[in-house]
């Protein structure tokens, strides 16, 4: 494992921001850290980066404690964006790369590469304060990644971006993933995380509510949603014969029902075909959003 959080806890006075968080991230993986506002995601990220120290528990990078040298291999894009308004875009990226230990000439070359990749060429010599919010966000991403970090932590990287810029950032993250960078990111755009991330940790109230790959989270999901067409009495009777099944909704001649995950779908299909002129039978895997919604309201 590249990154591991082991029963991490952190309080601020009497407020426990993180109570007990556990997860592990494989080297080169893209990891989604999910949770509602105030769940403890940002505190967790700050602890990984060493900005905050855990009260108890341990965070490890490549099986070792995270020290100063390891932290220089990390990159960070915080949720709240900030740039020196009067500093030029390229200077800004170079400055942050150099703060992470990159040599002067190398930093300039890396800045050029990021500027090209993120479509910031025409703004390279402009003051950051003159840029639009979306472009400033791309500059920040470049600042976070220009030193080619081994671990890049991105807090809400898509928030405030228009669809075109969001796609640019998405593609850049995919490139980083392909190049072997370990990515930890949080976002409320579940669909983006669902396609981008290999594994997830859902935290709420400062504790881990669910963790694992999407497949493992789905396999642990107790119910499946099934779409059946046409919506007729015979089909409802067949569904009614399954323990734990219930109708979710109906309309436009279609029936949506929830059935236990262990249901024998082949047998159910056969039973429905014999009683109804079936035109649609579609069991659906739970989406990440469904898993997330359930996880944050139901403690383990």
């Amino acid at each position: 494992m590249a990154l591991e959080a082991d029963h991490v806890r952190r309080s601020f006075g009497s407020v426990a921001a993180v109570k007990d968080v556990n997860f592990s991230v494989n080297s080169g993986a893209t990891f989604g850290l999910l949770g509602p506002n105030g769940a403890g995601k940002t505190t967790m990220m700050r602890m990984i980066l060493g900005i905050l120290v855990a009260d108890s528990g341990e965070i490890r990078w490549n099986s070792g404690r995270i020290g100063r040298n390891a932290r220089r291999l990390f990159g960070y894009l915080p949720e709240e964006r900030g740039l020196y308004g009067k500093m030029k875009v390229k200077e800004h990226i170079i400055y942050f790369a150099r703060l992470h230990g990159v040599g002067s000439a190398d930093a300039a070359a890396k800045a050029d590469r990021w500027i090209a990749d993120l479509g910031l060429g025409e703004y390279a010599d402009r003051a950051c304060g003159e840029l639009s919010k979306g472009n400033q966000q791309k500059v920040q991403l470049a600042c976070a990644g220009a030193h080619d970090p081994e671990l890049l932590i991105l807090d809400e990287p898509f928030s405030g971006l228009d669809p075109v810029n969001a796609q640019t950032v998405y593609e850049k993250l995919e490139d980083l993933h392909k190049s072997g960078t370990t990515l930890v990111l949080s976002s409320h755009q579940m669909w983006q995380l669902e396609t981008l991330c290999d594994s997830f940790c859902i935290i709420a109230g400062g504790t881990t509510r669910a963790a694992g790959t999407l497949a493992s989270l789905r396999s642990a999901w107790p119910m499946r949603t099934i779409h059946i067409q046409p919506d007729d009495q015979k089909s409802r009777e067949v569904l009614g014969s399954i323990d734990g099944a219930h109708i979710l909704s109906s309309g436009d001649g279609e029936l949506r029902a929830s059935v236990p995950a262990g249901t024998d779908f082949a047998a159910l299909l056969r039973a429905l075909v014999t009683v109804s002129p079936l035109t649609r039978f579609e069991p659906l895997e739970p989406t990440l959003e469904e898993i997330y919604r359930r996880a944050i309201v139901e403690p383990n």
């Binding site: 309080s11 601020f12 006075g13 700050r46 980066l49 060493g50 900005i51 905050l52 100063r68 932290r71 220089r72 990390f74 960070y76 915080p78 709240e80 964006r81 900030g82 740039l83 020196y84 308004g85 009067k86 500093m87 400055y95 942050f96 150099r98 703060l99 992470h100 230990g101 920040q140 600042c143 976070a144």
Partner: protein, 401 residues
């Protein structure tokens, strides 16, 4: 660590000296030095043009003697015979003189009437001084030009305290002290406030979070403070050169030599020591205070308490210039935050035992030993405190964690 520190330092220094407040502050400082150095000459010239133009009237023999004596301080115009009623128009018609001085012999001496355009500002005292020999001459019968020879007395002031040999040397030292203390005051106040603005900018724009994720808060704070300090020293050098040039212009090379004679190597060492100590104390406290604010609008109210000791120290130094051995001055010259101003002033204008200077430096170093970790921790913690400005109890709680 050193590389991080160097990077922050160089970036901060470049940003600082390119900033508008630095450029304006330095430029305005040079301008003020220039203005203050030529102002007395301009005022004097203005005065000579305006107040010094007078006319003299009276019996011819008396008038010619008065003319000669008054030329020491005034430009005397020939106005002929005086009218019965002296009016403003009369003054204006005679080369715009500001006053008509009428002299006449009276019982036991001289009587003078002055008809001034503005009696409130007319220097009647000078007339009294200038015409005193004529008064004595009329009273005693000794010719006025002989009396005038005894008007000035040669006075030599000899220092016996061991600090200054001559009055000129003492005046030059006071002038240099005043200048250096003013520089210390301005550099501390202006640069500490620039530092707070910079910290507040990084805090409120959340750059601080990015920075402390990359480097240690100690490197960040150290680099910023040192860069600000160096920018302050640069400002100091520019202002000092401007002051020397201005002194040379207004009083010739002798003026510069007198001033330079007051700046001995010991003075330079003691000043730089107190400058560095004072600047570090204030800038660290200012930076720590600035790290606690969440909105730039709160900056003034949060750092105002720190302005008070700077102002107090500056006024105490003014007092110390006049009374370097007063009890208040003696005590405050050992109190950190105040002593960089007060002890330096005492060192300059009084005979201060070496151990007292050393003790004051030691007290300040001890204070720095407390301020550095305190400000460092407050800065590190404060940078991540967002939302409402924290209460003292919250700050204390966080500092203990």
């Amino acid at each position: 660590m050193l590389a991080e520190f160097g990077l922050v330092f160089s970036a901060e220094f470049v940003r600082r000296i390119r900033s508008r407040p630095f450029l304006i502050g330095t430029g305005v400082g040079v301008l003020m030095i220039g203005v203050f150095s030529v102002l007395p000459a301009i005022m004097e010239r203005g005065e000579s043009n305006a107040i010094k133009q007078i006319g003299v009237t009276g019996p011819p023999a008396l008038r010619s003697q008065a003319d000669e004596l008054l030329r020491a301080d005034f430009v005397v115009n020939d106005v002929g015979a005086a009218p019965t009623n002296v009016t403003r128009a009369f003054l204006r018609d005679h080369d715009n003189i500001t006053a008509l001085v009428e002299v006449e012999k009276a019982i036991g001496g001289l009587h003078v009437d002055v008809y001034a355009d503005d009696p409130g500002t007319f220097p009647a005292g000078r007339i009294t001084q200038d015409l005193a020999p004529l008064n004595i001459a009329l009273g005693t019968g000794i010719p006025a030009h002989l009396v005038a020879q005894f008007r000035s007395i040669r006075i030599d002031v000899h220092g016996v305290g061991g600090r200054f040999e001559t009055a000129i040397g003492a005046d030059a030292t006071r002038g240099v002290t005043m200048f250096l203390v003013s520089i210390l005051y301005l550099v501390t106040l202006l640069n500490s406030q620039m530092l707070t603005a910079s910290v507040a900018e990084e805090k409120t724009s959340r750059i601080a979070e990015l920075l402390v994720a990359a480097i240690s808060p100690a490197s960040l704070l150290g680099g910023k403070v040192l860069a600000t300090g160096l920018a302050g020293i640069l400002q100091l050098v520019i202002w000092s050169v401007a002051e020397l040039v201005a002194a040379g212009k207004s009083g010739g090379i002798q003026n510069v030599q007198v001033l330079m004679s007051a700046i001995t190597p010991e003075v330079v060492i003691v000043f730089l020591t107190f400058f560095v100590i004072g600047f570090l104390e204030y800038s660290l406290l200012y930076a720590a205070a600035a790290s606690l604010i969440s909105r730039v609008e709160d900056l003034g109210s949060f750092t105002f308490p720190l302005v008070l000791p700077v102002i107090a120290a500056f006024f105490l130094a003014q007092f110390a210039l006049q009374a370097p051995n007063a009890q208040t001055v003696l005590v405050t010259s050992f109190i950190p935050l105040l002593s960089p101003f007060v002890m330096f002033t005492r060192f300059m204008v009084a005979t201060v035992p070496f151990w007292q200077v050393g003790l004051a430096i030691l007290f300040n170093i001890a204070a720095l030993a407390v301020i550095v970790p305190f400000a460092g921790k407050l800065y590190r913690v404060g940078l991540l405190l967002y939302g409402r400005t924290p209460k003292l109890s919250q700050i204390w709680t966080v500092l203990r964690t």
